[in-house]
Amino acid sequence: MDELLIILHSTFRMTAPIALAAIGGVFAHRAGVLNVALEGMMLVGAFTGVMVSYLTGSILIAVLAAVLSSMILGLLFSVFGITLKGNVIITGLAINTIVLGLTAYILQVFFGQRGVFSNPKIIGLEPLDIPILRDIPILSDILNNQTPMVYVSLLALILAHFVLYHTKLGLYIRTVGEKEEAAYSVGLPVNKLKYISVLIGSFLCGLGGVNIALENVTMFVEDMTVGRGFIALAAIFSGQGTPIGTFIFSFLFGFADALQIRLQSLNIPGAFIQMIPFLFIVLVLTVVGIISVRGRTSRGIKNE
């Protein structure tokens, strides 16, 4: 039982960056823009956050800068992918490559560092001890004393759900993604909506970057997002683009990962334990698939 609580506590930590990026990515996904640049957007957030925290000593400015840098990237993505009508997947992959190179390059040329940048002057965000939550038995063990972005990720989930399903903006975003002509024919600003969706995503990716580089640890390491952006993408697709579904899959992944870490003490070759999170997601999707195919009476596979 205690073990489980500890795993759950750690699950939320491990879920946060994936969930932030994934929930952010949900907007672009719903607007019909496949954003594979989540990875780069997180990485740039992590990088800028660390650099600005180091230079200014202010965590607030650092977080703002992280978000800003990520949104600038979102803007770049949008200009190429939406305004100039470039292929969005290529645009996204290109942005990932550029960010990977550019962060390393700036680190090297302007900070004279390679690989890792850590310094006591970098200020991070500390876990929060929340008054009421502190006193609720089980919940406090799981949710109290988490870093701010963990709470932000939960907040993002609620807000994303509200925005997508209860506001005009969300309705328009869904319309643009599902049937662009419909949006266009009633005069909705299609491109503007796509921009907004991408930017919401990059905003949250920036926070995801902050989580990775200024909360979990306080340092920057080249390529420190190590594929979390793609896991986030997988969560979006697995969760069928709904904020709740997406969060659930982010969480399942985080949980399997946390579990995997504990299970490493078993006497099984490391590789097989480390596969758990990936195989687990495949398993869950297969089960979901089998169940939903069973209930179907019509034949065949639908268009996306």
Binding site: R114, G115, V217, E222, V226, A258, Q264, G270
Partner: protein, 319 residues
């Protein structure tokens, strides 16, 4: 072919170094080599160059081109180049080559081998002693220590096995919790693994995981227990929470090689273990005073025994 190897105008000696995976900035292996090379540049007045191939298949091109460009000595830190090196070395007999961590035969090849397992043995032994010492930091009385590796592979497990043997040498009951991060660039994950191991009562964690290890040290710091650094002296990274570092003196090896380049006399094989001071524990600047001095004398004693062959440390790559 005809090499254009005319030693350059001033007759300076030219030494080039090819980094291993991860490249510069790993704060360990590659960086350490670079330190040695820079030192050689300054002190020996040689011309140096460091290059970082993108992947192992580029090794052949890099080795060839550096040889063609008249470098007297071409050092590769990447053991993955062992196969191609043999051929290239015969093609460029006027160039000397050096390779680390693996043995390649050839008239103009120097193989540099480290006995990382020996240094790790000392680290394991020290950890097994300190982990029961409740007075220090948040050390608990349980004999549990941890290990975090980048990937589950021989190169990493070489350290692990030495570490385990060292710990068991002190106390056969010592439990070693092992974790792998599956990435050398994921400090978050490193920290998470460290926290999990600490949760399971490990209070000293040896990391052999590149930048992921930075997270391990961060985790140790946050719970005020100990990490053990690797490759270079990492004690400063979390002062007082890095018990010691198992240093691999790539810098010294590179420096010595550069020196040989000046004299033109090379060994065909250099083995660097505790005896040669090629592998050693850091001076423990921040932690020496925190622990019982007896431990350190015990470590010295063990070191002696390893050097004179009384203790044999397993090298898993040798089978």
């Amino acid at each position: 072919g005809s090499t254009e190897s005319n030693a350059n105008e001033e007759g300076k000696i030219k030494v080039a170094m090819i980094t291993s995976d991860g490249g510069l900035g790993d704060r360990s292996f590659n960086d350490s080599g670079y330190e040695g090379l820079k030192k050689a540049e300054k002190e020996l007045g040689i011309e140096i160059k460091v290059v970082e191939p993108q992947d192992v298949s580029e090794g052949e091109k890099y080795l060839t081109q550096l040889a063609q460009n008249g470098y007297n000595l071409v050092i590769t830190l990447n053991l993955g180049h062992e196969k191609v090196l043999k051929d290239i070395a015969t093609q460029y007999p006027d160039t000397q080559f050096a390779i680390f961590n693996t043995e390649v035969e050839g008239d103009n090849i120097t193989s540099v081998l480290f006995h990382e397992q020996e240094g790790s043995f000392l680290a394991g032994a020290l950890a097994a002693m300190v982990t029961k010492d409740e007075g220090v930091n948040n050390i608990n009385g349980d004999s549990v220590i941890g290990f975090v590796g980048g990937v589950d592979s021989p190169g990493i497990n070489k350290f692990l096995v030495g570490y385990k043997e060292g710990a068991k040498y002190i106390d056969p009951q010592t439990k070693v919790i092992v974790g792998y991060s599956n990435s050398f660039a994921d400090p978050s994950k490193g920290k998470e693994i460290a926290l999990s191991q600490i949760e399971q009562k490990a209070d000293i964690i040896y990391q052999v995981a590149g930048a992921t290890g930075e997270g391990v040290m961060d985790g140790a710091k946050s719970k005020n227990v100990f990490a053990i650094g690797v490759d270079s002296d990492q004690d400063y990274i979390a002062e007082g929470n890095v018990l010691t570092s198992v240093m691999k003196r790539v810098d010294i090896a590179v420096y010595d090689l550069s020196k040989s380049a000046q004299s033109g006399k090379y060994d065909s094989k250099i083995e660097l273990g505790l005896k040669e001071n090629g592998v050693q524990l850091s001076e423990m600047k921040y932690t020496k005073d925190m622990i019982n001095p007896d431990y350190l004398s015990k470590i010295d004693e063990i070191k002696e025994k390893i050097n004179n062959g009384e203790i044999k440390v397993t090298d898993i790559t040798k089978n």
